[in-house]
């Protein structure tokens, strides 16, 4: 054995290791596993749940029990995963948690998706020795937030949500309160989740192992609309849904199932099927034009992208003084709904403003909030009527009895269903900037960019949360800054505030890695590879498409010709652009104002 090669023993098997951050990662790499509630590879190690405890024997014979998720690997240690002592700890932990848990499993939003339920089953917990939670001990469920439901009676205090909020966004909407058995995770000062500066990204519930934090479901309301004979239900599907939903039906992460999605939507009974990728292309036309105008004619720079509602909300609550940096473009969801309501009657028979309902399928919980924004209503009604997350849509498919895996591919309806590769890559961090660059190049020079692939903008892993890319548009240098997570966005903002910013365009996606890892996607918090595979799926679709630049999309050319005149026109502004406002009021950020 050479000196730099280190090994340790797991269940007697010699395993090599290099720079793994902890024992648990090595255990998994070696093909074993131990249960855990609180370990999330994207977050700091916490060591709270004690489920991943293992027995470690040092070469000198000393034995200890420790949590494998927090233990730095050491050479030559012997690790036992299932001794009587550690199994007893795990089983006691499970029993203790279940005793203090509202065990209404069958009616729980997380049922079938709950790690507590899963381990209780795996460990064969059949009775609870300890006094269980009584109705009078139950705390109120917080339903106030447009995207997230918080049920403290199901919280096991693993702290994953607290860490996600703090580490991704730098602002701890959720935190620990009290001591001992009275410890709680709650919004600051016991406020409601609607009265704090929550950005609705849903990462808290994405890492939550139980039903303590769940997505506020709109599935039943959508079914009601579908089954209403008087309503025509129009649906749109966001870019990153196509590379993730398959995971709920046994397909591999990143496998593009957009054809099956269209088929499933038709089977469920949606009347018209559009693709949000189409309005992603439309966004590029508007935002690209806006950017080029600010760049060439003078205007507030850097320009901030405005597709991510969590980011918009963050700016409105934390930096209302910087709202003029934000592109006035609505998000692709926000564009498709008014476009559909305005122009569908023109192209499709039987549709009018009053009988149309627009549903969007999004990877995102914050889109539910976006749909409720006052600025995105027309005639007092929301432009987007319902937002379903990928997870909710998957459940709809299941309850409709559709065998998703075997569906034949279908197509979206056109117009408003065609898209280019530029629209597809909107789903990954860097994709909006890359798509914008392809079209901005054309808008400035009248020529197409030589290479569509701007690879330095890509990457969704932890080390790629902030990227700076310099573009040369025929002599004009443009620096694009791509960030995901609001912590990274805040750093970029501080650079602007202290005068060190060197970029002209800032793309922000609040979720780490972008929409492919959105809060509404199928759960994948224990595997950091999943988001990379999903992103690869989007870039693969882009690569294989005949058209890869938004301005070449025939549906886009047609909609401008027949309805919107040109990017930035009066009618385009009316339908496709929006305004922002200071939203500190009602959150603690207004204290002292």
């Amino acid at each position: 054995m050479s000196e730099d090669k280190k090994t340790l023993f797991i269940e007697g098997k010699e395993v090599e290791f290099t720079n793994e951050p902890n024992l648990l990662e090595i255990i998994r790499k070696a093909g074993f596993n131990v249960p855990t509630f609180c370990y999330r590879p994207d977050l700091t190690q916490f060591g709270a749940c004690r489920m991943c405890v293992v027995e470690v024997e040092y070469p000198n014979g000393r034995k200890m029990i420790n949590s494998s998720c927090t233990m730095p690997p050491e050479a030559n240690i012997k690790v036992s995963l299932n001794t009587q002592r550690v199994r007893r700890i795990r089983k006691t932990v499970l029993e203790l948690l279940l005793a203090n848990h509202n065990r209404e499993c069958t009616t729980c939003e997380k049922s079938g998706n709950c790690e507590l339920q899963q381990y209780a089953e795996e460990y064969g917990v059949r009775k609870i020795t300890y006094p269980t939670l009584q109705p009078e001990d139950m705390k109120e469920i917080d339903n106030s937030n447009p995207s997230i439901v918080r049920d403290p009676n199901k919280c096991i205090l693993c702290g994953a949500c607290v860490r996600a909020c703090k580490e991704f966004h730098g602002h701890a909407v959720l935190g620990f309160a009290n001591r001992g058995s009275k410890t709680l995770v709650q919004p600051m000062c016991g406020k409601k989740l609607s009265d704090v500066d929550c950005v609705f990204c849903g990462q808290c519930q994405a890492v939550c192992p139980t039903g303590a934090l769940t997505i506020k479901s709109d599935v039943e309301r959508v079914w009601d609309e579908i089954n209403n004979k008087d309503k025509k239900v129009v649906v749109q599907v966001a870019p990153s849904v196509r590379v993730a939903i398959g995971e709920m039906f046994g397909l591999k992460p990143g496998e593009n199932s957009i054809g099956k999605i269209y088929a499933a939507l038709r089977k469920i009974g949606f009347d018209l099927i559009f693709d949000t990728n189409f309005t992603a292309d439309l966004t590029i036309m508007e935002e690209g034009t806006e950017f080029v105008e600010r760049l060439t004619k003078g205007g507030k720079l850097p320009l901030f992208t405005s597709c991510c509602p969590a980011w918009v909300r963050y700016l409105e609550t934390h930096h209302p003084d910087m709202l003029d940096h934000l592109s006035s473009c609505k998000s692709p969801q926000g564009m498709l709904s008014p476009v559909a309501k305005e122009f569908v009657p023109k192209y499709y028979e039987g549709y009018n403003k009053d009988n149309m309902v627009v549903v969007s399928i999004m990877p995102c919980t914050a889109k539910k909030y976006e749909a409720s924004r006052e600025q995105l209503t027309r005639d007092g009604k929301p432009e987007t009527d319902y937002v379903l997350t990928t997870q909710e849509f998957g459940r709809m498919i299941k309850s409709a009895g559709i065998d998703f895996k075997t569906l034949e591919d279908e197509k979206a309806d056109s117009p408003f269903g065609e898209y280019t590769g530029a629209g597809t890559i909107f789903g990954a961090s860097g994709g909006v900037a890359e798509a914008a660059a392809r079209t901005a190049y054309y808008l400035v020079t009248g020529e197409n960019i030589a290479d569509n692939d701007i690879k330095p903008m890509r990457g969704v892993d932890k080390s790629s949360r902030s990227k700076s890319v310099e573009l040369d548009i025929k002599g004009t240098k443009v620096v694009v800054r791509v960030v995901s997570t609001l912590s990274e966005a805040e750093k970029a903002i501080q650079e602007i505030k202290n005068g060190t910013a060197n970029f002209q365009l800032l793309e922000v996606m609040a979720c780490p890695g972008g929409c492919i890892n959105g809060g509404g996607q199928p759960r994948s918090c224990d595997d950091i590879k999943v988001k990379e595979e999903r992103a690869e799926g989007l870039y693969a679709e882009d690569k294989g498409m005949p058209l890869r630049r938004s301005h070449e999309n025939p549906d886009i050319i047609r909609i401008y010709k027949e309805n919107l005149e040109k990017p930035g026109s009066h009618i385009a502004h009316e339908l496709l652009h929006t305004t922002y406002s200071d939203k500190r009021k009602g959150t603690y950020l207004s204290v002292g104002e």
Partner: protein, 617 residues
């Protein structure tokens, strides 16, 4: 290294200053004595002293507010060293008499002298009081002798001499070696060899390193760290500076709970004074060693005494422990190598350096060296803060220093090591108090809390009390501690309420094992100790509660029944009139009766009965 300060010269000057103070009156100004009026006493003495023209041997008088003397239950303590007299339980009204009768006219005030509970005789001298006589003081050596707020007084008794020695020698490895050789172990609870800890951190020398003093004393009844911080703050600072030099730290924190305002005030002053004299701060004593000390006030969470929680707290996070490894010596405060030592540990350091490792290791046992402070409380005659060589037996502490059990009652048990410690019994009275023996017996030295219990103490109630404490103070992070202690507490509450179930003992034991094995930090790992040790030594008492529904000590209210003995009752009606719930009925001059359904077992009838007709069963 050549220093620009000659500490011996400074010492001589300081001693002269003290000599010039004339007649010294030492008044204990620890937190306890201040609560009993020490400040008023000091003011009164000063007022009288201002008019002194001449005493027999001195031309003036100086009143010195000192740190805690340790004999707190006898406070306020006033010591007249030149007259070899200690006065106890002094009130401001007594000051004039002490002054006139004793200080001016040489006639001691007998009634204010300590009375030995065994012999009933008055004791004049401090050194003749059993409480003090049997002690050996290292960490507390200056407590009660010097003015804690005067750096000269600290220097006069050897303060900063060790630091000067270390800086002159300029060999940090020698310092670590000396501490290793002394055998000093951490006095805060775990008993890890101090020199070893320093050695681990010193291996990371070169980058930013922190020296942290843990003054988050939280065990109920323990106050040795507070006494050092209040009574001899310079010794702590000197110990920290020596440790910082050894490990290569240039910045330090003292983490003190905000409930210790006097300690904080005196530490702040001590830091400022030490900086002004170049004993702290930049280029200490002209050397190239720099060490800055900050005070971080804790908000009173018990768990912040756990070193990783303490680190989190200093960093501004919620005080929640972090798993180890990585140990603070490698990755501690702000991610940097950090040594965290307890106050008492650090207070031993300057003495070890000054007097030598061999001197220190000559005290104690084979594996536990030096002296240890204990906070002696409960049902003993003399309660207070003591310091004895490691290996002193419980019997010596309780019966010699403590003066035996109060009121002639029988000794039952002693809880050692605070809420994480264990209960020991009569059979352990001759056990030497050292880390290994106590651990073997199911207790621990811990921070040195000693709660002595007599026959009237219900042992299950004691276990419940401590479990309630640890449950309330659990940080709530890990499941075994948060939920496990909660359920252990529920079972204990059930047992003392007379609703214990036969299977409870097994469940308690199982749960205790899982909590010990599975908890993240030492708080959880040791929380079951009081339960396990009482189950081991007092199983019958648990069984009496669970099976016979009887509390042998007669403490648990739920299991008490009050009865009026008909043949003794004279029918005076006093009990019926006293009963707050109208549970007693009867006519005048006829025996009365208690309705046990209505009775709330408050005991007021029993106290009211002039004929002792009421009994508890």
């Amino acid at each position: 290294m050549t220093l620009n300060i000659d500490i011996k010269e400074e010492q001589k000057k300081a001693q002269e200053t003290i000599q010039n103070q004339g007649f010294r009156v030492l008044v204990c100004s620890g937190t306890g004595c201040i609560a009993n009026g020490a400040m008023e006493i000091i003011a009164k003495f000063r007022e009288l002293g201002a008019n002194v023209e001449s005493l027999s041997h001195h031309d003036k008088m100086t009143v010195v507010p000192t740190g805690c003397h340790g004999f707190c239950e006898q406070g306020v303590l006033v010591v007249l060293p030149d007259l070899h007299t200690t006065y106890v339980k002094v009130h401001v009204e007594d000051v004039e008499e002490i002054f006139e009768s004793h200080i001016k006219n040489g006639k001691p005030v007998e009634r204010l002298l300590y009375v030995d509970p065994k012999t009933g005789e008055h004791v004049h001298k401090n050194e003749d009081i059993n409480f003090y006589k049997k002690q050996t003081r290292t960490a507390l050596e200056n407590n009660g002798h010097i003015n804690a707020e005067d750096i000269d007084e600290a220097i006069a008794v050897g303060g900063y001499e060790a630091l000067a020695k270390v800086l002159e020698k300029n060999d940090s490895d020698w310092v670590i070696e000396e501490i290793l050789k002394s055998g000093l172990k951490g006095r805060g609870g775990a008993g890890f060899p101090t020199g070893m800890k320093w050695k681990f951190a010193a291996a990371n020398r070169g980058g930013k390193t922190y020296m942290v003093c843990n003054g988050d004393e939280g065990d109920p009844g323990a106050f040795m760290d507070r006494s050092v911080m209040e009574g001899d703050p310079h010794k702590l600072l000197e110990g920290m500076a020596i440790a910082a030099f050894a490990i290569g730290a240039d910045e330090g924190y003292i983490y003190v709970r905000a409930e210790y305002p006097l300690a904080i005030k005196r530490l702040r002053k001590a830091i400022a004074d030490a900086e002004a004299r170049h004993f702290l701060g930049k280029n200490i004593m002209g050397s190239d060693f720099t060490f800055d000390v900050h005070i971080k006030e804790g908000a009173g969470a018990f768990v912040c005494g756990e070193e990783t929680a303490l680190i989190a707290s200093i960093e501004g996070e919620r005080g929640m422990p972090r798993p180890k490894p990585p140990f603070p010596a490698n990755k501690g405060l702000f991610g940097r190598p950090t040594v965290i030592n307890n106050v008492e540990t650090l207070a031993n350091v300057p003495v070890i350096i000054r007097k030598g490792a061999d001197w220190f290791s000559s005290m104690g046992t084979e594996t536990s060296k030096g002296t240890k402070t204990f906070a002696l409380t409960g049902e003993v005659n003399n309660t207070g803060l003591i310091e004895v060589p490691m290996g002193t037996t419980l019997r010596q502490i309780i019966f010699d220093i403590g003066g035996g059990i109060r009121g002639g009652k029988k000794f039952k048990a002693v809880q050692i090591g605070g809420p994480s410690g264990g209960c020991l019994t009569e059979e352990h009275l001759d056990l030497p108090m050292d880390y290994e023996s106590l651990q073997k017996a199911g207790a621990m030295v811990g921070s040195g809390g000693l709660v002595v219990m007599n026959e009237d103490t219900c042992i299950v109630e004691v276990a419940r009390f401590f479990m309630n404490f640890t449950q309330n103070e659990s940080c709530g992070k890990c499941v075994p501690c948060r939920e496990g202690t909660k359920n252990m507490l529920k079972i204990l509450e059930r047992i003392v309420a007379g609703q214990g179930k036969p299977e409870d003992i097994d469940v308690l034991k199982e749960l205790a094992t899982a909590v010990q094995d599975g908890s993240l930090c030492a708080l959880g790992k040791t929380a079951p100790n009081p339960v396990l040790s009482t189950l081991k030594y007092f199983l019958d008492e648990y069984k009496a509660h669970i099976i016979d529904k009887k509390c042998p000590a007669g403490v648990c209210a739920a299991m008490k029944t009050y009865r009026i003995q008909e043949d003794v009752c004279k029918g005076c009606t006093k009990c019926a009139r006293t009963c707050p719930v109208g549970a007693i009925s009867g006519t005048v001059k006829e025996p009365h009766k208690i309705d046990t359904e209505k009775c709330i077992k408050c005991g007021s009838c029993m106290a009211a009965c002039p004929f002792k007709a009421i009994v508890v069963e």
